[in-house]
């Protein structure tokens, strides 16, 4: 059993069947990358893992997604708690228009923590885990919007870590960043996998090859191939995967 077990997942947005009968297991303490051409359902799949698709009018989900054995679509599941356990980092850094400190403190406070010292400890720990502490420790009260794009993205990662999640979802987290900031986020993904289960969506195949342990290839909403990143990139078993990663289509 994986950390996340997906069985016969189907997702529709009104009449549009976006995810088609996908089943797979995602391993804990690893980075899994989802790749595929635009519109293949990567982001929809990712957003299903913390039920963000529920917010879209007309969406319908069938099948199962189990995290640590629990079906997250079960009617008894508290979605607010699920989204604490499954953090999300988006394509564009989206810090709140608040101080660096408040951005990270926001989640724990929302979850009921109000001890000042405890919050300070969590903020420092999260910023350290996100490899940002050394760069911001002397200006925690400054606006998060003054940080560079790469720093803002790491701040968003720190914000996700502050509520003590198990799983971190990242939707093309480097697409708006320069190569240096990208390299820092990729190193961070690897480090985070020691403690968390990291799932990323990426358009950049080389990023999947560099930073992930497992790679999943989706095409037109179907799971075409999944396996270790080494096997998918060196010796793909499906002709469609071969054609996509060698640039014959996509």
């Amino acid at each position: 059993m994986g950390k996340i077990d997906v069985k016969n997942l189907n997702i529709w947005f009104t009449d549009n069947h976006v995810i088609k009968d996908v089943s797979l297991e995602l391993e804990s303490n690893s980075v899994t990358a989802f790749m595929g051409p635009s519109g293949c359902g990567k982001t929809t799949f990712l957003r299903a893992i913390n039920r963000l698709n529920d917010l879209i009018v007309g969406s319908k989900t069938t099948g199962e997604i189990r995290i640590d054995g629990q079906d997250i679509y079960d009617k008894d599941v508290e979605v607010f708690e699920l989204r604490r356990r499954v953090g999300m980092v988006f394509q564009k850094p989206n810090p709140f228009p608040k101080s660096i400190f408040d951005n990270v403190a926001f989640g724990p406070q929302l979850h009921g923590l109000d001890e000042k010292e405890d919050i300070k400890t969590i903020v420092e720990k999260s910023l350290r885990e996100a490899a940002l502490w050394e760069e911001v420790k002397d200006r925690l009260e400054k606006s998060a919007l003054d940080l560079s794009g790469g720093q803002q993205q790491r701040l968003c990662i720190a914000r996700a870590l502050a509520v003590n999640p198990d799983v971190i979802l990242m939707d093309e987290p480097c697409s708006a960043l320069d190569p240096i900031a990208t390299a820092k986020i990729e190193s961070l993904m690897r480090k985070l996998a020691d403690k968390y289960t990291v799932v990323i969506v990426t358009h950049n195949m080389q990023q999947a090859a560099r930073a992930s342990d497992y790679t999943v290839f989706l095409y037109l909403g179907k799971l075409i191939e999944s396996g270790t990143t080494k096997s998918v990139f060196e010796n793909p078993t499906n002709e469609l995967t071969e054609k996509y990663i060698t640039g014959e289509f996509g």
Binding site: A209, N235, P236, T246, G247, E248
Partner: protein, 211 residues
């Protein structure tokens, strides 16, 4: 539509095939000269040096393709295999050079019992070298797999040669000389098999042993 990487792959493939053809020429010339007792070491040395000089340009082209295009899947397997095959061809050239040197220092073979085995071994080895290059030209998996049978034949002839040598009462310079030559023939046959293994890998991803 042709991909950008394709012209690079075609370029390295034609360089490698040219290298293989030269290596084949060096092997054939050195072995035939040895058997027929004719001096050709200067020509063999020249061809062998040409083969060696092709290693760096081929490796440089492969590394440039890797840096520029970051190949994956069959593209990556092709380049990995080409690096290995380039080394195998370089060895063909080097062994051809060594055979020519042996003839120069120790002379050729005279004893009919040894010569007969050597003739057969040479014929098979040269055939394998040609087959390995043909397999490379079209990435022909079937031809690559067929190298197994020939390699077994060369190995058997090598053992037969050693047995004949052991049972012989006279050991002469020429027997020492031919012993060294059969050893190289055996090595060349091994490298032809390695090329077959590379062809199978680059075409199918399967790692097989043809030895």
């Amino acid at each position: 539509m042709k991909r950008l990487i394709d012209s690079g792959l075609e370029q390295v493939s034609s360089m490698l095939i040219r290298m293989g053809e030269l290596a084949q020429e060096a092997v054939s010339l050195s072995v035939i000269s040895y058997i027929e007792n004719s001096k050709n070491h200067i020509q063999v040395n020249e061809i062998s040096a040409n083969v060696s000089s092709m290693v760096d340009p081929i490796e440089d082209t492969i590394f440039e393709i890797m840096v520029r295009f970051q190949p994956v899947a069959s593209d990556l397997r092709i380049l990995k295999s080409y690096i290995k095959i380039c080394y195998d061809f370089e060895r063909f050239g080097r062994y051809a050079f060594d055979i020519a040197q042996i003839y120069e220092k120790l002379g050729g073979i005279k004893e009919p019992a040894f010569k007969q085995i050597l003739d057969e071994m040479s014929e098979n080895t040269i055939k394998m070298v040609k087959a390995s290059i043909n397999a490379l030209k079209c990435h022909d998996v079937e031809q690559a797999r067929n190298l197994t049978g020939s390699e077994e034949k060369v190995d058997k002839l090598y053992s037969k040669y050693l047995d004949t040598l052991i049972s012989s009462k006279i050991t002469k310079l020429s027997t020492i000389s031919s012993l060294l030559v059969v050893r190289y023939l055996e090595r060349i046959a091994d490298h032809a098999s390695y090329i077959g293994e590379s062809i199978i890998y680059l075409s199918t991803g399967e790692r097989s042993k043809l030895r």
